[in-house]
């Protein structure tokens, strides 16, 4: 073990030294080519990041685009099959459409509810009540609990003998309904996932919205008061327009995150043929799980997801002209 750490340390040292030399060479070459010293220093300094980006991000992206047109099992060279993988996903894969439906419905329902809730909490936290720091910490807490722990907790809460069903059982009796087994019964899987998704929304979104709220100048509210407007008028005519750029930002990130949802689908086994599962789980399943990689097929779904995300984001951007207000901009 000591030996292992020693070797690792040496490896790091070699890489660091090599990087320093490379940065120096880049700097020298750029200066010789007539670049200003300041600019050359900049380029030399971002060299490690640039190399990392090329090796760990740009190359994998391009490789997956290529693989998506091939049959590739990671052991033998890929075989070109053209658009076959894409056609197969869209026409001949029984888990694709239910999963697309689940993923989109999940985003479509959980996202607005989650945003509304975090906006509400942010507005409460924006008030100067006593101990506001404690409240802010408490509301942020769920966001720093690892997702997996949260999911395991909810799997227990929403089991057929779980806490939720025990609390709700008088209600079930009243309407003559059996205790649902949320994640097993296909009718309740989506609602269960959505309820679970709301647990974490207070974290980052609330903090961002809170920052947006704090930036609203108080004189705007005073103006509403002078005109005799109440709380609703303040919210409707000041708060909402003023934080609409913040909402827009969280919405865009939320759409991307919703399409890419992964952990709940891995830790709660959904039946991909009836309820569907999250698209990202299908990518993982085909690329890595089960000992027989279909990397090409999985890559194709990755690119289909990218197109879905682009279309949805574009829609949000297009619609933003209608509801996002930027200060200093005239409509």
């Amino acid at each position: 073990m000591v030996d292992f750490y020693a070797r690792t340390l040496i490896d790091y040292a070699v890489v660091a030294l090599g990087m320093a030399v490379a940065m120096f060479i880049v700097f020298q070459v750029l200066v010789r080519l007539g670049m200003k010293r300041e600019a050359a220093t900049g380029y030399a300094l971002i060299l490690p990041w640039l190399l990392g980006f090329i090796v760990w991000t740009a190359y994998p992206i391009l490789a997956s685009l290529y693989y998506s047109f091939t049959n590739y099992n990671v052991f033998q060279p890929p075989k070109w099959v053209g658009l076959d993988n894409y056609v197969k996903w869209l026409t001949n894969d029984r888990s694709f459409w239910p999963s697309l439906r689940l993923t989109l419905l999940y985003g479509l329902i959980s996202l607005p509810i989650g945003l509304a809730l975090s906006l509400g909490v942010a507005m409460l936290l924006a008030r100067n009540v006593r101990g506001v720091g404690v409240w802010r910490t408490l509301y942020y807490l769920p966001a720093i609990i690892p997702t997996v722990a949260t999911i395991l907790l909810w799997r227990w809460l929403l089991g057929s003998e779980g806490l939720v069903n025990q609390i709700m059982s008088p209600l079930y009796n009243l309407i003559g309904m059996d205790k649902p087994s949320w994640f097993v019964d296909e009718r309740y899987a989506l609602p269960g996932l959505i309820i679970m998704s709301l647990w974490g929304v207070f974290g980052a979104n609330t903090v961002i919205l809170l920052a947006g709220l704090k930036n609203i100048p108080t004189h705007l509210y005073e103006a509403v008061e002078l005109d005799g407007g109440g709380a609703w008028a303040k919210f409707r005519h000041v708060t909402l327009p003023m934080i609409s750029p913040t909402l827009f930002y969280t919405l865009v990130l939320g759409v991307i995150a919703a399409v890419k949802t992964f952990e709940p689908g891995i830790f709660i086994k959904l039946n991909s043929l009836t309820t569907g599962t999250f698209l990202q789980v299908l990518v993982y399943g085909n690329a890595f799980a089960g000992g027989n990689s279909r990397m090409g097929y999985a890559s194709a779904l990755g690119w289909i997801m990218l197109i879905i995300i682009m279309v949805l984001t574009l829609l949000v951007f297009r619609s933003s002209a209608l509801w996002v207000y930027y200060e200093g901009e005239r409509k």
């Binding site: 099992n73 990671v74 052991f75 033998q76 029984r94 888990s95 089991g159 057929s160 003998e161 087994s181 097993v184 019964d185 043929l273 009836t274 890595f288 799980a289 089960g290 000992g291 027989n292 990689s293 279909r294």
Partner: protein, 383 residues
């Protein structure tokens, strides 16, 4: 956990006698096949690996596994004698006439039953002449509502896709992959009869625990907790001695699986130890493989070798299994493993997605689904 300790004891013994190698055990409890695939592709995999039967042909076909046929020819150690292996089990470690590993277990499916539940329901316990009909009749009688809430809370049996539906198709005289591995005749009348029998029972509240109950309460746990009277389990399962470890568990006995219209074929789960083709020391790895296999054969039941298929070896390997040894040995001649093709997992997912799952969910009759699935299955058989 317990199993890892037992294996470590086997390995310690093997290592103590070895001069050219040392086996280091790296347990990988979760996502095993994902992990080794990544390791093999990245060149960081261990020299020896365990592969369940479905994977060996595929990996051998991709050139990832070391062909050990020539080593085996010149080896006189007992675990290296291929004639001694049950041929149906050994074939899962072979591909195109070459051998790529040694099986370490041959675990036929047997019928575990709960004598107390049988007595309470006034049903005769299973015997060697049991047919499908006898099984069905008993399962129906053993499914009962004991607390009077109008819903059954004990069941005759529980299926969740295990044992594989293939087993019932074989029992009816059908095949899912033909002997020459070029066809998937799942739409023959025999194959359909087997599939239909299974479909009639699985998740059917008349005979078996429903899907929700199985998922919530655990599949084998239902049997252990005395809620399911008959359970198809592997011969090495602990169902027949779980009560000796924890008195809360139900006492169960072992019987042969019921006979189908054509045979009593029973599925045998098997796995093999194989060698990573990229190993730096093929000879040492091979020696370790054979020694380790010999060690495991005296620990795991049933060892896949004819010479070790005796009540004494079983009792010596797992003393708690002594009472069941006779039935397990009787099941062995009918034990069958899958016929494995290189693109087996692809075949398997089509079989599941296009045939088995829709059949269980009532989304088509066995005949319709089989007809649709067959051409797609056969497309994966041609290499």
């Amino acid at each position: 956990m317990e199993e890892a300790k037992e294996l470590q004891a086997v390995i310690d013994k093997v290592n103590a006698a070895a001069t050219t190698y040392e086996i280091v055990h790296e347990p990988q409890p979760a996502d095993y096949y994902t992990k080794i695939q990544t390791n093999l592709a990245g060149g960081t995999a261990a020299d020896l690996l365990w592969l369940s039967q479905e994977f060996i042909a595929g990996y051998a076909d991709k050139g990832v596994l070391l062909d050990i046929s020539d080593y085996l020819k010149n080896d006189t150690r007992p675990a290296a004698k291929l004639d001694d292996y049950f041929s149906d089990i050994l074939q899962t470690a072979q591909f195109n006439g070459r051998t790529y590993g040694l099986p370490w277990i041959a675990q036929p499916v047997v019928l575990y039953y709960n004598p107390k539940m049988f007595a309470d329901a006034g049903v005769e316990p299973p015997n060697e002449n049991w047919t499908w009909d006898d099984f069905k009749t008993a399962a129906e009688k053993l499914t009962k509502d004991t607390d009077g809430d109008g819903k059954p809370d004990q069941w005759g049996t529980a299926f969740n896709g295990w044992p594989p539906i293939h087993m019932f198709i074989w029992q009816a005289g059908g095949e899912v992959i033909s002997e020459d591995k070029t066809q998937s005749p799942i739409d023959t009348p025999e194959a359909l009869a087997g599939a239909q029998f299974y479909k009639d029972i699985i998740y059917n509240p008349k005979y078996a625990a429903p899907q929700e109950v199985i998922k919530e309460q655990g599949f084998a746990e239902l049997a252990k907790n005395g809620k399911v009277a008959m359970f198809f389990g592997g011969a090495a399962d602990d169902l027949d001695y779980a009560h000796t470890k924890d008195p809360r568990f139900a006492e169960m006995k072992v019987a042969l699986v019921p006979k189908g219209p054509k045979s009593r074929a029973t599925f045998a789960w098997t796995a093999s130890t194989v060698i990573n083709a990229a190993t730096k020391n093929p000879k040492a790895a091979y020696d370790a493989l054979v020694d380790l296999t010999e060690g495991i054969h005296r620990w795991k039941i049933v060892a896949p070798r004819k010479s070790l298929a005796s009540a004494e070896v079983i009792a010596a390997s797992v003393p708690q299994k002594q009472a069941s040894a006779e039935v397990i040995l009787k099941a062995l001649p009918d034990a069958r493993s899958f016929r494995i093709v290189p693109r087996h997992s692809e075949w398997d997912s089509i079989f599941w997605e296009k045939f088995q799952d829709p059949l269980f969910q009532g989304k088509g009759t066995a005949a319709e689904l089989a007809k649709q699935a067959r051409p797609e299955l056969e497309a994966t058989l041609s290499q």
